[in-house]
């Protein structure tokens, strides 16, 4: 039955004078809805219209975790898409699944599409590159944490809105001044583990985990209970106790408070730009993420969050050619520059950043280049290339739990991080066992 339908299709295709050659279909599963979903759709349509050999079919498969699960389930059933969007914490899972993926550098080499690995920004591609420098997945949407400032709230509390907030020492003094000035929500944060541990470690050039943060092997152990991290979390814990840092939840719940104008300072992704600029009814500023002066090599560079595109194994060569063309199209300067300007995500190539600056975008939208500068100011080190830890979504959950222990005053920073290390390491050992 199935065969005869296929046969009929083949015959009708051959007979049809228009489609002299059948277009090859490329399935692309992603996790974007709303405005981002529309932008992805537009990119795909532009690609499809630009040539006639391949048709990219995009489909939304839920949030990041759900998309990864859909990809995994589909692979088990032999129905995997060609391109799967996977968020950065799923990177180690994908890398370990050697038989399920086809590295991007291989796809590009075989497809003959134009591909220059050096065109990509080091700190962005580093997250998705093997230890020997080969690109495994194509960075798609990447952002990095920055400090958002509510200038009106600063003013209302009698604090100069132009106060230097480059270091946490200065932020600490400002929080005191804000509190003295009657501000009841000095600092709020989104994604606490990502910003205050993962990025914190990279920014101060101290390890988050052994084995180059997991890049050099599965036998990695967490090192988030180091001196620098403990000092930072202890300070944050003090601020929480004094009501200067308000904890609102594990994800980006704090964004609602900041956008409503309730809080003076907010550590959040640079991609928060779209939401804040459209909702905030106050003057705001973007500043680089603060660092502790004199700790480690701060400021090193921050690392990214977001997702990359993985190519799944088990498809025809002709289809991979199409995948290569599409990925090459996505990396082109024009596509990247417009993506960067529309979303607040970082451009993945240096060229797109240059084009954006040349177009005067940063002057019209001050602060949108801070994330780019913060990421690219220094060459990444082994501690600031990124993280590659198995079961990392779950480990983040553990870190969240332990951080809550600090904010509520139940645990000291040292106790909490020692426990996070012990529990996280147990998961890392299981991941190692599963991928031996």
């Amino acid at each position: 039955m199935k065969k005869s339908v296929l046969g009929a299709l083949a015959v009708s295709t051959m007979l049809s004078p228009v489609a002299a050659m059948a277009e090859t279909e490329v399935q692309f599963w992603h996790a974007f809805t709303g405005r981002l979903g529309e932008l992805v759709k537009a990119q795909v349509e532009e690609f499809n219209a630009s040539q006639s050999d391949y048709v990219v079919v995009e489909s939304h498969k839920g949030n990041y975790s759900e998309t990864l699960n859909a990809g995994i389930a589909a692979f088990r059933a032999g129905e995997q898409p060609h391109i799967l969007m996977v968020f950065e914490v799923g990177t180690a899972t994908m890398m370990a699944a050697g038989g399920a993926i086809k590295p991007v550098h291989e796809v590009m080499a075989e497809s003959g599409a134009s591909f220059d690995p050096d065109a990509y920004i080091g700190a962005v591609k580093g997250y998705y590159t093997s230890t020997d420098g080969q690109m495994l997945s194509l960075p798609f949407n990447s952002s990095t944490p920055v400090l958002w400032v509510n200038r009106d709230a600063m003013q209302a509390a009698g604090v100069d809105p132009d106060t230097d907030l480059s270091t946490w020492q200065q932020v600490g003094e400002t929080l005191d001044a804000l509190k003295a000035g009657g501000e009841d929500c000095g600092l709020v944060t989104a994604w606490q583990s990502w910003i205050h541990l993962e990025n914190f470690s990279a920014y101060h050039d101290v390890p988050f985990a052994s084995k180059d943060n997991g890049f050099a092997g599965l036998d990695t152990e967490l090192m988030l209970n180091g001196e620098a991290q403990i000092a930072h979390l202890t300070a944050m814990g003090e601020w929480a106790k004094d009501g200067k840092f308000i904890y609102t939840g594990r994800r980006n719940e704090g964004g609602a408070n900041f956008r409503a104008g309730e809080c003076a300072l907010f550590t959040e992704s640079s991609a928060g730009y779209a939401g804040i600029s459209s909702e905030a009814e106050f003057e705001f500023d973007v500043r680089p993420l603060p660092y502790w002066d004199g700790v480690g090599n701060a400021p090193q560079n921050t690392i990214i969050g977001g997702a990359s595109l993985w190519v799944m194994s088990g498809h025809e060569d002709a289809e991979y050619k199409g995948v290569g063309e599409f990925l090459s199209f996505l990396s082109s300067s024009d596509v990247q520059a417009s993506w960067h300007q529309n979303t607040g995500y970082l451009p993945i190539t240096a060229e797109a950043g240059v084009a954006t600056r040349a177009a005067g975008f940063y002057e019209q939208n001050p602060g949108t280049d801070i994330a780019v500068i913060q990421m690219t100011a220094k060459e990444p080190t082994a501690n600031s290339k990124g993280l590659r830890l198995g079961s990392f979504d779950q480990i983040r959950g553990i870190i969240d739990e332990e951080l809550e222990g600090i904010w509520s005053g139940d645990k000291t920073a040292q106790e909490a991080m020692d426990s996070a290390k012990e529990r996280g390491d147990a998961l890392l050992r299981r991941f190692e066992a599963a991928n031996r």
């Binding site: 975790s65 088990r76 699944a97 904890y247 959950g397 739990e401 139940d410 299981r430 599963a434 031996r436």
Partner: protein, 293 residues
């Protein structure tokens, strides 16, 4: 002497029970068997390789003090959800039963919450109790109480219990109400003539006559609080703060679908299967003895 209908031959009885057997096999025995089998391995998420670990997954779980603590959390949570969903339901049913006018409207209104999906119910409660913008937490703030379920484990537990029990009250109400209607009027009237007041009649006549329903609801609600509440927990607390609302079934979900750790997730399902099986047996063996049909 018990009366039994007997069939001659095998074919017809086999045919008659076949659908039930097939459904049980496909939807229960097969998945349960799979879970038991998979609990002996640590597979990678893509199913490319699998390490046989024997009872290693169970050892790993039972050696984890957070997993053991989640048994206690689950017990507290289940008991609270069951009580909070049954007692108000019975109370409302008794009142509705005594209503003469407008009982139809009253009943319909009470059934509404049951139509709200658990995850949506979770979001509703989350909005009301949001620590900074929630209506209820604002009023509590006015009264001088600083509500903060994102850091206070007790408040978080209270919130997920209320959110889980709320929709369930409707379901229980329906059953209690139907059972109350079935209590013979003559018995109650006889007691009334003998001088028994309302509460005495309720304790000595109505409640014992309700016992089959109460028992049924007890079993169903315990199973509900074990298995169907993770949507509410996921939306409200995601198991936090710290581990204060991580119940067993939530951990099965998060290890399996967030952590991609199918071995541990399967082992947890097996443990959960044993726990709920044991609970149901206990309920039928000991509590059912006190039920009068």
């Amino acid at each position: 002497m018990e009366k039994r209908v007997t069939f001659r031959g095998w074919l017809l009885p086999l045919l008659l029970i076949a659908p039930q057997v097939v459904i049980s096999a496909v939807f229960f025995f097969y998945p349960a068997g799979q879970a038991i089998w998979q609990s002996l391995f640590i597979p990678d998420p893509f199913g490319l390789s699998s390490q046989y670990v024997g009872l290693g997954n169970f050892e790993f779980l039972l050696g984890d003090k957070f997993y053991r603590a989640s048994f206690v959390t689950t017990a507290v949570f289940s008991i609270l959800v069951t009580l909070c969903s049954m007692i108000p339901a019975l109370f409302l049913a008794v009142i509705a039963d005594r209503l003469i006018k407008g009982s139809g409207v009253y009943r319909t209104m009470l059934i509404w919450p049951y139509a709200v999906a658990p995850a949506i119910a979770g979001v509703l409660w989350l909005f009301m109790f949001n620590t900074r913008v929630g209506v209820v937490s604002w009023y509590l703030g006015q009264l001088g109480y600083d509500w903060n379920h994102v850091l206070n484990g007790g408040e978080a537990m209270g919130l997920v219990v209320v959110a889980s029990a709320w929709g369930r009250i409707s379901y229980n109400f329906l059953f209690f109400f139907a059972a109350l209607q079935a209590v013979p009027r003559s018995v109650i009237e006889a007691a009334a003539i003998d001088g028994a007041r309302f509460w005495r009649r309720f304790w000595t006549i109505v409640l014992p006559l309700l016992s089959p329903t109460t028992f049924f609801l007890l079993v169903v609600n315990v199973v509900y609080s074990f298995f169907e509440t993770f949507g509410v927990i996921h939306t409200i607390t995601a198991g936090g703060p710290q581990q204060s609302t991580t119940v067993l079934v939530y951990k099965v979900f998060s290890d399996g679908f967030v952590g991609q750790d199918l071995g541990s997730s399967s082992a947890q399902s097996v443990i959960l299967l044993i726990v709920v099986g044991a609970l149901t047996i206990i309920q039928f063996k000991f509590i059912e003895k006190r039920v009068h049909y």
